[in-house]
Amino acid sequence: MEEEAKNNETMESAAESKPAPVLHVAPGPHLQDTNITTRRMMVDVLIGLAPVVVAASIIFRQYAWQQLGLCVGTCCLTEAICSAIRRKPIPILDFSAVITGVILALSLPWNMPVFVPIIGSAVAIVVGKVIFGGLGQNIFNPAMVGRAFVMLSFAGAVGAPAYVQHLDKMPWLESVHAAPSQTLIAANADDHIDATSNATPMTAWKESNRSTMLSALFLGNTIGSLGETSALACLIGGVFLCLRKTASWQIPTGMLIAVAVIAGIANLCDSGAAWTLLHELLGGAVLFGAFFIATDPVTSPITPKGKFIFGLGVGVFVMIIRLLSVYPEGVMFAVLLMNAVTPLINRWTVPKPLGAK
């Protein structure tokens, strides 16, 4: 703000001996809500992510921390280097690079060669954010840009097989008995499936029609990406973010409605399936994506109506990918696709001013 110091306003009556106050001239409003700053919003997101991080470290222990450390460290370092190159002040303290790192780490499998999270993080910051001009300027969610890059580049390390290799390293992960689909029960009543040792719940269902117990999906003792397994943790952190208004409630609401409606229709078409609407909602990255990825304010629309449409769109794409594509999960692509149409949604949803016809 342009503040000009105004010199020597003298006072006569009360404070003759005291120094005269220096008065400033500035345009109004002269008050500001200092409870909420960009940095405070970022801290909110980190607080909201805390339950997810806790769940990940209970489920995956040191592997979760290794992944988080690599991603957050690389993101911050990359941001610092880029800022130095651009001769800008190093904005580590705005925490946005930390958030990108945490979200990227939580969206990756637990076991990967060390170079994968490092490359992913560097790409997330450089291609996802810095080349657009830094915080607030990017079109795509940086963490998802990084993840898409490593997933397509290192399909073996990040794709479905990555989740199940070397599971013997995590002996504490109790095998989770999946409830087989109704049709399977009829055929083979004793067919209990050890979900953790076979595949992620999403892959198990996609490839071999094996369902996972809802309680496991809810609490998170399955395998999967670090942050996505526990629906409970995502809900706790997500509701916090929405109550703080750091995440706009319209986005998760729209997304969950779209997923529920499409999953409900799919359920009705295949009434015997053991993979129900609730499995679709609790399984995979739907909740993590709805509350932490899609709600990135920079890459989502600005008006309440636009946010809801954005959420609906993400949900629809998630279900299209889940039901019709070869991928078991589609949150990442769904978010990136909707990021691309965000400017269009903004243009469609310019609100009508009060009193306009």
Binding site: T34, T37, L135, P297, T303, L354
Partner: protein, 451 residues
């Protein structure tokens, strides 16, 4: 103190808006005091929306309190009167808080001045009948408002006679008195409602007569229960009713008050007239009563001097043309911590660079803020969080308009309805990135090429 719930069709509030800290306590209990007549006043010849007045006095001319000193032929204008007894000086130029340079007539105070009691009794005290007002014909009331130089005292200073003039094409059914005083800190209207509700009620009834409105409402925010109670007592036996609105900024914005109290939406670019409503400030109503019943012009007004940077916050009845320095000195002066002296409230007021600036008919207060009050976090890029969208009472997208204004992209600014902005400042208040949103929009509105 009783809290009264509204039973009117309005919801008692409006969508969006913000809740800045109220800080009314600083001056809320300070009874109205009369400012001792200053040694000199400087009376600007443009204190209202409309045409600038032309001085009709000569230097060294003796003037008495209430004497007309400037007038204009234009319909949208209001004559200006001497606020003290004294001698006119050479016409000079005064810079108003909004930066406008306007001609001004200085008046040097004479020895003989009415006492404080006389001034108070003349302006706000004495009897204010609520019956027998039929003897005043509507045209006479409008004429009295014009002759007395009445303008809206809420801040915008629109000439009152223009509002009240009967327009057969746009009949008025409701007079809405605005006692919301939604700006933080300010308590001038509050003190008037609590101490002297009688002239407010009488003025409301006269305004209703002037434009043949059937219904008279006084809108007050629910953070002023004592004012609600006092007004209800004073309005007993009349048709005036008090509507209690929720405390929210900008509840006192004309369009917001109308929506909150009546559920009506003023069309874009329209006036309250278009929905059958005339909104006047409670202070204006009291001045109208004085003009009609006593034939006295608008020479004094209640001004709240408040804020953490003032030694003794007070509510003062001051002559128009007194300098801000006069008011501040009477309130003990500025504290050493003071950093901003604001003409008006902290949300929409203008900072003063020169304390010798005169107060005008539209000055509702002086807010003195300290460094602590005005501290702002460093500006960051817009993260498109949409908080400004959720705060904007006009349902705009402030960040888009502001950034379009910054880049001088007038097409984009217009597409996002820049002209609908009422400059309330809610967007800049809530912005987590500390962007000067309303400031940029204001700049855009000023720089935009006119069509």
């Amino acid at each position: 103190m009783t809290r009264t719930a509204t039973t009117f069709s309005g919801e008692g509030t409006f969508p969006h808006g913000v809740h800045p800290p109220e800080r009314k306590g600083l001056a809320a209990d300070a009874a109205i005091e009369v400012l001792p007549t200053p040694a000199q006043v400087n009376i600007p010849l443009l204190q209202h929306v409309g045409a600038t007045c032309v001085s009709i006095v000569k230097p060294k001319q003796e003037l008495t309190l209430g004497e007309r000193i400037a007038d204009s032929e234009a319909f949208i204008s209001a004559p200006i009167h001497a606020g003290i007894n004294g001698t006119a000086g050479m016409q000079s130029v005064a810079t108003l808080p909004n930066g406008r340079h306007v001609p001004a007539v200085p008046i040097k105070a004479a020895e003989e001045q009415p006492t404080a009691e006389e001034i108070f009794k003349d302006v706000l005290g004495g009897d204010w009948p609520t019956r027998g007002l039929e003897q005043y014909a509507p045209e006479k009331i409008v004429e009295a408002a014009k002759t007395a130089g009445l303008v809206g005292q809420g801040g915008a200073a629109f000439p009152t006679h223009v509002k009240l003039k009967y327009n057969p094409e746009k009949p008025i059914d409701t007079i809405l008195l605005n006692g919301c005083e939604c700006e933080p800190y300010l308590t001038a209207d509050y003190r008037m409602m609590v101490e002297t509700p009688a002239p407010i009620i009488t003025g409301a009834l006269l305004a209703a007569r002037a434009c043949s409105a059937k219904r008279v409402l006084i809108a007050v925010e629910d953070n002023k229960p004592l004012a609600v109670d006092t007004l209800q007592q004073a309005a007993k036996g009349t048709d005036v009713r008090v509507v209690v609105l929720k405390t929210k900024y900008p509840q006192g914005g004309e369009k917001q008050t109308i929506f909150a109290a009546l559920g009506r939406i003023v069309p874009q670019g329209g006036l309250p007239l278009d929905v059958g409503v005339v909104v006047i400030n409670v202070g204006t109503a009291a001045a109208l009563a004085r003009a009609v019943l006593r034939g006295k012009p608008l020479t004094h007004r209640v001004i709240c001097v408040t804020g953490a940077g003032i030694v003794k916050p007070k509510n003062l009845l001051a002559p128009i043309g007194a300098s801000y320095r006069d008011l501040i000195d009477y309130c003990g002066g500025l504290k050493p911590t003071a950093t901003r002296v604001i003409a008006g409230g902290p949300m929409m007021g203008f900072t003063l660079g020169n304390l010798d600036t005169p107060v005008t008919k539209g000055t509702s207060g002086v807010t003195v803020l300290t460094e602590e009050d005005t501290r702002r976090p460093a500006e960051t890029n817009c993260v498109r969080c949409g908080r400004c969208v959720d705060a904007c009472p006009m349902h705009l997208v402030p960040t888009r308009i502001a950034l379009a204004s910054r880049g001088k992209d007038w097409d984009l600014a217009k597409k996002y309805h820049i002209t609908s902005c009422v400059e309330c400042g809610c967007c800049a208040y809530v912005c987590p990135a500390s962007l000067p949103l309303v400031q940029l929009i204001r700049m855009g509105k000023a720089q935009m090429p006119r069509e």
